[in-house]
């Protein structure tokens, strides 16, 4: 009898993981780990930490797949949510402001894509879908996108962002809300679904 494997990136894959299928977990890892690892590198700026948290993310996916509710979002958003939450936890627990400043030089070399080249990934891996997502992000004015990136990738609070950018708190809040609504509207227009 031929057993059909669930499609990668489908709710059925998560259901299979929830039922204890390690092959399904491997498929989930193979498809999504490059994106999750890129996110963790961007958050943590340090391959060792990023690899450790990457393992934790998929371990958590394995342990909690049974409670995944596809009505509340797709599995990629679910994985990203776990990864960001764990990454920010790690970021906050390990760093102080002065260490952040002294490490910033090292972080940027990773953020600018050196790691991609070192790992030998081809530029062609940047898919059409990814280009669409970047276009959606590029459609947000810098004044709105920058505070959103500081919150998402640096775990900064509204007041920290306001202080960092030298803008009033109310201005930052409004810009972030406008930026997010624009992104959501782009999504409802078809990007990233």
């Amino acid at each position: 009898m031929r057993v059909e494997k669930p499609e990668s990136g489908s709710p059925a894959l998560i259901a299979a993981i929830g039922a204890g299928d390690t092959d399904a977990l491997e498929r989930l890892y193979d498809v999504n780990s490059p994106m999750i690892y890129a996110l963790l590198l961007r958050l943590l700026g340090n391959p060792e930490d990023a690899q450790e948290v990457l393992q934790e993310v998929f371990l958590q996916a394995w342990q909690r797949a049974g409670s995944f509710d596809p009505r509340r979002g797709n599995e990629i958003a679910w994985l990203i949510s776990i990864a960001r939450s764990r990454g920010i936890d790690r970021l906050r627990s390990r760093r102080t402001r002065s260490i952040r400043e002294s490490e910033a030089g090292r972080e940027i070399s990773i953020r600018t894509g050196d790691v991609v080249r070192e790992q030998g990934l081809d530029d062609a891996i940047v898919s059409e879908q990814q280009k669409e997502m970047r276009a959606a992000l590029a459609g947000i004015p810098d004044a709105q996108r920058l505070p959103l990136e500081l919150a998402y990738f640096n775990g900064m609070s509204q007041s920290e962002i306001a202080e960092h950018l030298g803008e009033p708190l109310g201005t930052i809040k409004t810009r972030m809300q406008l930026g997010m609504k624009k992104l959501r509207d782009r999504l409802s227009g078809g990007v990233g679904r």
Partner: protein
């Protein structure tokens, strides 16, 4: 509070920037408001674009190996269904099946009724546990920072520490900096003064210029409204003698080699 206001909070929550008060108010509200719960979900998808727009990076194969090993050894779950005991006679199976179906239906009804309450309780417990963890992390960070600063002060006051003064260049004649360097510990504490504010897309970068070889970036920094900043530098590249120190303005985050205007310069005496 109106729906529009909760929509605004949902935008901040999705990006991880809602304040604790906003977070708690939103969580309470979406328990009873499907519309705002849907808005939060949409905003979550929008926030995920930041991750999905990044260049993918293949992790080293050993990460997957460790993950699968960890699952095979320490985290195996008991997902296999329990078998029926072998002592039942053939006649007992239909009865047992009927009882099992009734029990299953009854338990499902109970579960459905309790599920929402359990999820709410779990959500509150998770929030409290998260707050406790954050406080404990902050305490540990402060203790580590205290120890580190005590070590630095001891280092600065040691006999092996010397100072290097950096003077303002034509781009910022009144700027200055002082470097307290402990070469034996490869550490330095640096204070900058009167530098012009750097634009949001630029950073200042401090360079060590060796007697022979190319300048090496040792850290980037932004200045506050007074043009001041301080840095703690560790594991400095001090394999060769230092000729001078310099500060340039570079693209945000710094570069591998200097490209921008020089703001500060000081030679090793």
């Amino acid at each position: 509070m109106k729906h529009e206001e909760f929509e605004d909070i949902a935008a901040l929550e999705a990006i991880g920037a809602a304040s604790r008060e906003e977070h708690e108010a939103l969580q309470l509200h979406i328990e009873e408001c499907d519309s705002c719960a849907a808005t939060l979900e949409e905003m979550g998808h929008a926030a995920a674009l930041f991750a999905r727009g990044l260049d993918p990076v293949a992790p080293p194969p050993e990460v997957k190996h460790r993950l699968m090993q960890s699952i095979q050894t320490g985290h195996r779950r008991t997902s296999e269904p329990m078998g029926l005991a072998g002592g039942f006679g053939r006649w007992a199976l239909p009865v047992a099946a009927t009882i099992a179906i009734c029990l299953l239906a009854w338990s499902q009804m109970l579960l459905l009724g309790q599920r929402e309450k359990v999820e709410q309780a779990e959500s509150r417990a998770a929030l409290t546990a998260q707050q406790a963890k954050e406080l404990a992390d902050q305490k540990n960070n402060l203790e580590r920072e205290n120890q580190r600063l005590a070590g630095l002060l001891a280092s600065i006051s040691s006999a092996s520490t010397h100072t290097i003064a950096l003077g303002g260049q034509p781009m910022a004649p009144s700027a200055s900096a002082k470097v307290f360097m402990d070469a034996s510990a490869r550490e330095a504490l640096v204070f900058f003064h009167n530098l012009p504010a750097n634009p949001n897309d630029k950073s200042y970068q401090l360079w060590i210029i060796p007697v022979d070889g190319a300048p090496q970036g040792v850290g980037v920094f932004d200045v506050d409204h007074n043009g001041s900043a301080s840095m703690v530098l560790q594991n400095l590249p001090l394999a060769t003698a230092i000729k001078a120190l310099a500060v340039t303005m570079e693209p945000k985050g710094g570069l591998q080699s200097p490209s921008g205007e020089m703001y500060l310069m000081g030679e090793q005496s």
